[in-house]
C-alpha cells in the first residue's frame, strides 16, 4: 500500500464518516474504534503520560524511531478513546515537523468540534497539545 499523506488520511476519515447519516451511527463507529484501540500497558499509565481532562483521564505514550513518531493512548471514556484513535491514525509514523504544522481539520469536518471546546473538557484539546509537545521534543535542529 502506498504511503498516505496526512492530508489523505484526514480525507479518508472524513469520507468514512460521510457514510453515516445520523449522529448515533457516527458515535457507534467511534465507540467501535475506541474498543479496537490497542490498550497501553498499565505501567505506562503514569502521571507524566496523563492528560487531566475534567471528566475522563487520558494517557498518551509517544516514541520516536527512524525520524518518525509513534503514539499509543488510552482513556477511561470509550468515545474519547475512539476520537484519540482517529488522531493517532492521522499522526502516527509522521515526522515531528509535519505533526507540528498539521491542521487537524478532520475533527470539525466530521462534526466533532464540540469535543474541542473547553467545556467538554474531555481531554481532546489537551491531547492534541500533548502530542505536539512530544513532537517538539524531537524536532531536528
Amino acid at each position: 500500500m502506498a504511503i498516505q499523506t496526512i492530508q489523505e488520511k484526514q480525507e479518508e476519515i472524513v469520507s468514512e464518516f460521510e457514510m453515516f447519516d445520523d449522529w448515533m451511527a457516527k458515535y457507534e463507529y467511534l465507540i467501535d474504534l475506541g474498543k479496537d484501540l490497542p490498550l497501553i500497558q498499565e505501567e505506562l499509565k503514569t502521571d507524566e503520560r496523563l492528560i487531566e481532562g475534567c471528566q475522563s483521564r487520558v494517557w498518551l505514550n509517544a516514541a520516536f524511531t527512524n525520524g518518525k513518531m509513534q503514539f499509543s493512548a488510552d482513556s477511561e471514556a470509550i468515545i474519547t478513546k475512539g476520537i484519540i484513535g482517529l488522531l493517532i491514525r492521522v499522526l502516527n509514523d509522521e515526522n515531528p515537523e509535519t505533526i507540528l504544522k498539521t491542521d487537524l481539520k478532520f475533527i470539525s469536518d466530521i462534526g466533532l468540534q464540540e469535543h474541542l471546546s473547553p467545556t467538554r473538557a474531555n481531554g481532546l484539546n489537551g491531547m492534541i497539545k500533548k502530542i505536539k509537545m512530544e513532537a517538539l521534543k524531537y524536532i531536528q535542529h
Binding site: 475534567c54 471528566q55 475522563s56 468515545i79
Partner: protein, 411 residues
C-alpha cells in the same frame, strides 16, 4: 392579604411558558434534565429583560431623572418581592449578589472578619465546591479550623457525628440545604437549632432548595440563606444573600465603592445602611428586576402541585432505572428532591452523557463540583438527571429508553 385562588398545577400549561423547551437538538425534541445546573426561563421573564433594556434602562439610586427613579423603584420592588417570597422580616435583609458563590464569599470575607484563630467552621461532606473553598481560604487567612461532618452511603448526614463535631468552638455551620449531586434534603431546621444552642451562626446554601420547596427563613431561623436567580427561572449573574439584620449590621463591608458609602473623605469614610452597605457599585439592575418577575411568576402558580409533580417524576424515574443491571443510583436519602445521580458498571459517565446528548437529552456528567463527595463514593463522576416542574413522565420514558440504548451501545 387576600389569598389568590390558583389554578391547580398543570404541566402542559406550564411548559407553554418556557420557549426554550420547544426546540430540537440533533433533530430530536429537547429533553432538558439539567435543571440542577440552571433552569430555563419563562416568557414573562424574557419579556421583562427585553422591556427593561428597551425602555427602562437607567442607573439606580443616584439619578434625579424619571427613568432612574423608575428603575430604582422597580429594583427595590423586586427586593420586596424576594423578601416576601422567603419570608424575611425586612427588605433590608435581602442583599443582591452575583449568585450563591458570591453570597458565600461575601459571608466568608465579612463575617469571617469577626472570627479569630482557633475558631471552627463546620461544613458537611456533601458540599459544593462553592461552600468549601471560600472557607478553606478564610481558614488559611485567619488560622481557623474547618471541620467536615461525614455522610453515610445513602448520602445522608450522620447526625451523631455532626453532634460530636459541633462544639462551643464552632462559630459557623455552613451547610447545603439540598445536595446538588445526591438530592439529599438536610434537616436544616433541626441542625440550625443545635448550632444556635452552642452559639454558632448558620449559613444555608439554598442553591438547590429555593426552586424546590417553600423557603421561610424566619421559620428555619438560619442566619444566612444564599441562592442564585438562574436556578430559580430568573437571569444569570444575580442572586441573593439573606442575612439577619443585627448580624449584617455588625459585619464590616465586603467590597468598597459607589452606593455602599454614606460619606467619603480621604481621612474617613462612613458606610451606607443595609442593604446598600453590601452592594458596592452598579448592581445587575435588569437581573434584580427580572428575578422579581420570576418570583412573581412563581407566586402565580400552584407550587404545592408543582412540587408534588416533581416528586412523582423522581419516584417514577428511579423506579424504572432501578431495573437496569449494573446501574447504581448515588444518593438514596430518605428525604430527597428531584435529582437522580447514577453510575453504570464499566461505563464512564462521559460516554453516557455524550450519547444522551445526541438523543436530544441534556443531563450533566462529571463530579458536579463536589469532588470530595466523588472521592467518598470512589467514583470519577456520575450522570445526573435533575428535573423541574416543567418536565413530564413522557420525557422520563424517553430518557430511560435512551439510557438503555446508550448502555447497550457502550457495553
Amino acid at each position: 392579604m387576600t389569598e389568590i385562588i390558583k389554578k391547580p398545577f398543570n404541566v402542559r400549561e406550564i411548559r407553554e411558558e418556557f420557549p426554550a423547551l420547544r426546540q430540537e437538538i440533533y433533530g430530536k425534541s429537547l429533553i432538558y434534565f439539567d435543571n440542577g445546573a440552571t433552569s430555563q426561563k419563562p416568557q414573562i421573564v424574557l419579556n421583562a429583560i427585553n422591556k427593561f433594556y428597551s425602555k427602562e434602562n437607567a442607573n439606580i439610586h443616584r439619578g434625579v431623572h424619571f427613568m432612574s427613579q423608575k428603575a430604582t423603584t422597580e429594583f427595590e420592588e423586586a427586593r420586596k418581592k424576594i423578601q416576601h417570597f422567603i419570608n424575611a422580616r425586612k427588605a433590608e435583609e435581602v442583599i443582591f449578589t452575583k449568585g450563591t458563590t458570591d453570597g458565600i464569599n461575601l459571608v466568608a470575607s465579612s463575617y469571617g472578619e469577626l472570627l479569630t484563630a482557633g475558631d471552627e467552621i463546620l461544613i458537611t461532606a456533601m458540599e459544593h465546591h462553592s461552600n468549601i473553598v471560600p472557607w478553606q481560604l478564610l481558614c488559611q487567612r485567619k488560622g481557623l479550623i474547618l471541620r467536615v461532618a461525614p455522610i453515610n452511603f445513602k448520602g445522608e448526614l450522620i447526625v451523631e457525628e455532626f453532634d460530636i463535631l459541633l462544639s462551643k468552638k464552632t462559630k459557623l455551620l455552613a451547610i447545603t440545604h439540598i445536595s446538588n449531586t445526591l438530592g439529599t434534603i438536610n434537616p436544616v431546621k433541626e441542625l440550625t437549632q443545635k448550632a444556635h444552642a452552642v452559639g454558632a451562626k448558620v449559613l444555608l446554601d439554598g442553591a438547590q432548595s429555593i426552586q424546590h420547596m417553600k423557603i421561610d427563613v424566619k421559620d428555619l431561623d438560619c442566619d444566612f440563606y444564599v441562592f442564585s436567580s438562574h436556578k430559580l427561572f430568573g437571569p444569570t449573574g444575580i442572586g441573593v444573600l439573606y442575612g439577619k439584620e443585627d448580624l449584617l449590621d455588625r459585619m464590616p463591608p465586603y467590597q468598597g465603592g459607589g452606593d455602599m458609602i454614606s460619606r467619603v473623605t480621604f481621612e474617613h469614610t462612613s458606610y451606607n445602611e443595609l442593604p446598600f452597605k453590601f452592594e458596592a457599585g452598579t448592581p445587575h439592575i435588569a437581573g434584580g428586576i427580572c428575578l422579581g418577575t420570576s418570583v412573581g411568576f412563581l407566586n402565580s402558580i400552584d407550587l404545592d402541585g408543582a412540587q408534588k409533580h416533581e416528586g412523582e417524576l423522581t419516584k417514577y424515574a428511579e423506579h424504572l432505572l432501578d431495573t437496569f443491571e449494573g446501574l447504581q443510583i448515588i444518593g438514596e436519602a430518605k428525604n430527597k428532591t428531584s435529582v437522580i445521580s447514577f453510575t453504570v458498571d464499566g461505563i464512564h459517565p462521559f460516554d453516557i452523557g455524550t450519547l444522551l446528548d445526541k438523543q436530544g437529552i441534556a443531563v450533566r456528567t462529571g463530579h458536579h463540583c463536589t469532588q470530595p463527595l466523588m472521592d467518598f463514593y470512589k467514583i470519577p463522576g456520575t450522570t445526573r438527571a435533575s428535573f423541574a416542574f416543567y418536565n413530564t413522565k413522557e420525557e422520563i420514558d424517553l430518557f430511560v429508553e435512551a439510557v438503555e440504548k446508550s448502555i447497550n451501545m457502550l457495553k
